[in-house]
């Protein structure tokens, strides 16, 4: 049976909404962002003049931008390292059967299914300068002075640490599920053979299990990198980039400059700046995924 004309019409009709959706919500804004980044658009302005790379030049020279770029790198790399190490530990713990395993798996997945803004607002209170439950605990344990408690979101170093940890908390469940899938895909015989061959836990894990999981782990890391590099939710809710821009990352800087600061052109230039970097990451991601299929 060949594809009839009717099938083709039906196919196009089914596919149409998805295409429209992507063009309207992804394609159009992306095209506008490129357009704005080489123009002189402000919120409320009516004309458009092509200005070449002027916006990019201005952005690159700004210390704010350089700071945000550096913060983005720190934020992304640190949270990814923590997520991957944490996900390995959780996945190893959840691989073996024990009583209540399903309940624990459910609890670990919870941060992923809850809206991130809700979770982040919870964290805002947990890290609050006056009502912080962490500080309350530390004071009760006599680990910190009652009148000089850590300002989790007020001290530049601690604020960066806080947004990294909260973002890690948010990504951990997803990575755990991916790592767990990779772990359970390894036939039981292989670690057993390693055990008989004389390898202990660490050697088995680092020389056998991890290399076998590498393709799926790469996908998890690259996904996490792209996701973290382009996301500003945690930063926006917890610190708004502060104190003194110490947690400002590129997406939040683009938002503050372009939307709140009305300089659409410069905001667009900041976000478009990420495109080549993320394109390389995406290319790597696809390549690794492809290789994983071939193996």
């Amino acid at each position: 049976m060949g594809v009839t004309r009717r099938d083709r019409v039906l196919g196009a009709a089914m596919f149409g909404p998805a295409l429209l959706y992507i063009v309207a919500l992804v394609g159009l804004p992306l095209a506008l962002a490129f357009l704005y980044s080489v123009g002189d658009v402000k919120v409320g302005s009516v004309g458009y003049h092509f200005v070449g790379l002027a916006n990019f030049r201005s952005v690159v020279q700004s210390p704010n931008f350089r700071g945000a770029l550096w913060h983005s790198v720190v934020f992304t790399v640190s949270s990814q390292v923590l997520v991957i190490v944490g996900a390995q530990m959780l996945a190893l713990a959840l691989r073996d059967r024990f009583r209540g395993r399903n309940a624990v798996r459910f609890l670990i997945l919870l941060p992923w299914v809850a809206p991130i803004s809700v979770g982040a607002i919870g964290w805002k209170w947990i890290l609050d300068s006056i009502y912080s439950v962490i500080n309350w605990g530390l004071v009760r344990l006599h680990l910190v002075n009652q009148f000089d408690t850590p300002m989790w979101l007020g001290d530049p170093k601690l604020a960066m640490l806080s947004v990294i940890l909260v973002h890690t908390w948010r990504l951990l469940p997803f990575s755990t599920v991916i790592v767990l899938a990779g772990l359970t895909a390894i036939p039981r015989d292989i670690p057993e053979a390693a055990a008989v061959d004389g390898a202990g836990f660490w050697r088995t894990h680092f020389e056998i299990v991890l290399p076998m999981m590498r393709p799926i782990l790469n996908v998890a890391v690259l996904f996490g990198v792209v996701f973290t590099f382009t996301d500003m939710t945690v930063v926006y809710i917890l610190t708004r980039g502060g104190p003194y821009d110490s947690t400002q990352v590129l997406p939040s800087l683009a938002f503050f400059t372009g939307i709140l600061g009305s300089d659409l052109a410069e905001g667009a230039a900041i976000s478009v700046f990420l495109v080549p970097i993320l394109a390389i990451v995406a290319w790597l991601m696809l390549r690794v995924a492809h290789r994983a299929e071939v193996v």
Partner: protein, 347 residues
């Protein structure tokens, strides 16, 4: 080299259920090739895994070279194991696969190449060292797995159905190679299989297991010719031993001992049978028949006529076939165990 011993070894997977392995007492000899034979679910692999240390026994002990190793990790037992799937490390080259046990056991690095080459030489896979497991055929993978097992000169070899992933033709030659290999290295070997041909061909002794219980331990000849009970009698041999009901005993004989009168030894009993089917297999003919007269009238029998017997056998005809008295085996009907021969009323 070392002997392996199990004392009252038991594994119960789920509390309250019958054990997968029940009170197994075994003792290998030095350098012996011992085969665990049984149908699937007979507990043979569980038994092997307990000896390897991959499964914790519910009760009982494992001794290797006279030392209790029940509580030791697999790596402290001086064993090597070949898995049914071979369990090669897919991301490592053949060389690195074989050298892995050396690295894990802390053998000085300058000895690795020499030992790997020695193991590969034994198995004839010296030209595969740079390949990855996925680039190997089934037979090559099996050899790499063997080389990885032998490279650190273990006290005991444990093999879990290593030939079951090979095609039939390769399996026969691999069987022969494995036997030769064992003769050369002389390491005590325990081999698990559900294939009775493998067990008979390779084993010095065969342990027949059923439902986690050892039914019989003996040389291939013993378990085949003198089965300890009806399970062993009917599990071994294809077609299996025929069993006929005679009061409180079951009397049995192997199909190849039911022969035309001209070929049978004496004293013998003769049965008149009506042939219901003949299969010509080249090296022999398989005869399906019903006993025509006497006490066992209507009983189905199977005979294997060797190719040297050229006499015509026709479907629907009545033939006289004989079994030598010394080939008859007797089992108590109550528990299936072997009993003393006795006079039978055939008519």
């Amino acid at each position: 080299m070392a002997v392996v011993e199990t004392r009252g070894l038991t594994k119960v997977f789920k509390h309250g259920e019958a054990g997968a392995v029940n009170d197994v007492d075994l003792l290998t000899q030095e350098g012996e090739f011992m085969v665990f034979l049984g149908p699937s679910g007979s507990g043979k692999t569980t038994l092997l895994r307990m000896i390897a240390g991959l499964e914790e026994p519910t009760r009982g002990d494992v001794l290797i070279a006279g030392r209790v190793v029940t509580q030791l990790a697999p790596r402290d037992r001086r064993i090597a194991m070949v898995f049914q799937s071979y369990a090669l490390y897919p991301h490592l080259s053949v060389y690195k696969n074989i050298a892995f046990p050396l690295r894990a056991q802390g053998v000085p690095k300058d000895q690795h190449r020499q030992k790997v080459e020695w193991a590969c030489g034994l198995l004839g896979i010296g030209d595969l060292l740079a390949r990855k497991p996925r680039e190997l055929s089934g037979g090559e993978r099996q050899r790499v797995a063997l080389a990885r097992a032998i490279v650190r000169e273990p006290a005991v070899f444990l093999l879990d159905e290593p030939l079951s992933n090979l095609d039939a033709k390769l399996r026969a030659s691999a069987r022969e190679e494995l036997t030769q290999f064992h003769k050369r290295v002389g390491t005590t070997t325990i081999y698990v299989t559900h294939d009775q041909v493998e067990a008979m061909a390779m084993g010095d002794r065969i342990v027949v297991l059923d439902k986690g219980i050892v039914r019989q331990v003996g040389s291939p000849r013993e378990v085949y010719d003198d089965p300890a009970d009806t399970f062993v009698a009917t599990f071994l041999g294809a077609p299996p031993m025929l069993l006929m009901d005679h009061g409180d005993v079951l009397v049995g004989f192997r199909p190849e001992t039911l022969l035309p009168q001209a070929l049978a030894e004496t004293p013998a009993v003769t049965l008149s049978v009506r042939v219901t089917g003949v299969e010509y297999l080249g090296s022999e003919r398989i005869l399906y028949a019903l006993i025509e007269r006497g006490r066992f009238a209507g009983q189905k029998v199977i005979a294997r006529l060797p190719a040297i017997y050229q006499g015509a056998v026709t479907e629907g005809e009545v033939e006289d076939l004989s079994v030598a008295i010394r080939h008859l085996r007797f089992f108590a009907k109550a528990d299936g165990k072997r009993t003393e021969p006795r006079e039978l009323a055939w008519e």
